[in-house]
Symmetry: C2
Subunit: 429 residues, 2 copies
Amino acid sequence: MNLQEQLTELARRAKAAARALALLNTAEKNQCLLAMADRLEQQTSALLEANREDMQAAEAAGLRPAMLDRLRLDAGRVQAMARGLREVAALPDPVGRILDERVRPNGLRLRKVTVPIGVIVIIYEARPNVTADAAGLCFKSGNATILRGGREAFHTNRLIAALLVQAGQAALGQRFPAEAIQLVPTAEREAIPILLSLTSYVDLCIPRGGEGLIRAVAECSRVPVIKHYKGVCHVYVDRDADPDMAERIVINAKCQRPAVCNAMETLLVDRSIAAQFLPRVGAELARRKVQLRADAEAIRLLSGVRTEPPLELRPAIEQDWYTEYNDLILNVRVVNGVQEAIEHINQYGSAHSDAIVTANETTAQRFLNGVDAAAVYWNASTRFTDGGEFGMGAEIGISTDKVGARGPMGLEELTSYKWIGIGQGQIRT
Amino acid sequence: MNLQEQLTELARRAKAAARALALLNTAEKNQCLLAMADRLEQQTSALLEANREDMQAAEAAGLRPAMLDRLRLDAGRVQAMARGLREVAALPDPVGRILDERVRPNGLRLRKVTVPIGVIVIIYEARPNVTADAAGLCFKSGNATILRGGREAFHTNRLIAALLVQAGQAALGQRFPAEAIQLVPTAEREAIPILLSLTSYVDLCIPRGGEGLIRAVAECSRVPVIKHYKGVCHVYVDRDADPDMAERIVINAKCQRPAVCNAMETLLVDRSIAAQFLPRVGAELARRKVQLRADAEAIRLLSGVRTEPPLELRPAIEQDWYTEYNDLILNVRVVNGVQEAIEHINQYGSAHSDAIVTANETTAQRFLNGVDAAAVYWNASTRFTDGGEFGMGAEIGISTDKVGARGPMGLEELTSYKWIGIGQGQIRT
């Protein structure tokens, strides 16, 4: 079989497995998930051995230390995977929820009920824990997964997937649809466009990784893709903001974990309070070693300020406003009120997470309505856009799309729905 | 400007208009819709004149009578467009509905609220009424539309779109975002792939038409497409069916309006009742001039039956089971119970609408769970898959997709959602 035939067969089997999986009840799915968690922990030494093989090849290939760290498994990370599976087992089943119910004048009863999406391709980079996390979330929501991790983690991922399937088979025997969790059996790059052309079998692709990976996937896919390219998040400090609250939110949104997608990249400050607010927040940002890229007005207001260490400040260029730094770098701009803030965000932002700090409810409502983003906050940090913080339990990713799930994607966001009509012989007249 | 630049500018303006439109309140939108309806009626003679131009060109080009009928406007059809806009005005506003609300342990209040999708490209064929229907539904749900009708209806569509915009401007003045309703200003074919590559401005494409059109759109699009390719719908008559009810549903699903997507194309009959059921339903189908394409068992059971007129009966070939006839032709197959029926439907069906007739609740539940389709019915005709019949009011189309809307798409299905977080200064720790 050539690659096209091989992947078509893999996807065809995934579709059949998805149909069998959709018929398992909640207790059966949870039994499998708990068995999977146990199996991973029991096989820790085999997992570390497979991972050592990947690590040695990666070191020999000269991978960067940050990449090596993502690739590495240790006993704690294996336990974290197992814990994740147990947490998913403990979450409510998202399938079979009644979203709507109506009885028509002719007596036909219509129910809108959640169902699994079907077959989901997950494309990700070096972290092997994604294999267990994604497979667990998809399994609980009744979806078959086709997993495509980074080539550098191939041996580790292959063993994780095999252990998950073995555990499911031990738990349910023949009733476990073994092909509901499959790893793409090749590291060839051409596998991705082939898989994402199989519209008869694949229902959705969720890519997780850097903007380059996600753009490449979205460009070549013929199946729906749910994604966010990047997180260029904003905090707008309004004239009616409590300055202490504003500083606390700005520092948290930028500094608490700068490498993640819901960290702030651009601070917008209302002109009427900029002369008071910018020097004080600038001092604190300097203390935290945040470099600033600022517009002319902000530079004027900040350049006289003495800080310890001295503030690193340079003029922002147009491209900066579009940039996700994932680092201790912050754009700063002075704007004429909330409308200019909204316009800046809608032009340069990534529709991920944006916040306003103000005590004025009217201004806040304008911002919450006017900013076109997956999550908008009033008097809270952008850092809350996260499945755990939203109370969804684990998340498989964050979407900035408008069709399908938007914002953090937990179990409910991995379902579709069907309409069920129950009649007593109704016909259309 | 070349075509690429021209369409990019059009889409950029649509996006800006969508943002302005999203800020209009329900009363303002309804005022516009009612003004649009009045304007179309007032301008009936101008519309018929523009349509005459299109009709003459179409006749000269030798279009088929069925196409000419779709293209033709008359006073009744203009009134129907106006009535459609008034009905949309009367429907509840789908924007701003709270889908979910939760307060987190840290006091952060999260609301999941419906918002417009943004910019929607509608691609359709000859019927000019789609221009008003689609623009009205999108406008009420806060979405800007870019309309691309069939080239043969260009003059008619252009006038309809212009009248809608004039009416909105007369109603709201400067507050009406004129570029929220735009017609693609060229009949060039290349306009479609260009428009559907503009992922920064276009949020969704809804193609309406034959399978060829929809496949061409889905193939070239880089923006999400919500669609159904075809309707290969099934009725399964179970051993526990009431035969009178089964016959009534079968005849309705096939004959009441055979040219539409929710009409039945394949009848599946349980082997244990086939010898009783097929001859009686065969006689009625013959009376209604339905031709049958049947498997060997059904042929055996039907070929001895005397009907008036004689039954047109021939063996089905593999391709027939996949075919949407849109005509008085029906596939018939004898199956071994509900499981074989489910497998047939999942293999050959189009995931549109499928029904079981049975008095046995356990069997019905197996069917409703096992069939993977947008709408599944128990003891009711497949013909009910329709926005009006579902109580949605008008519909913009039917989706068999799993990501985004599934089944009939009314106003609610033209919305996305955003998460709104309201805090008192919460930061992430």
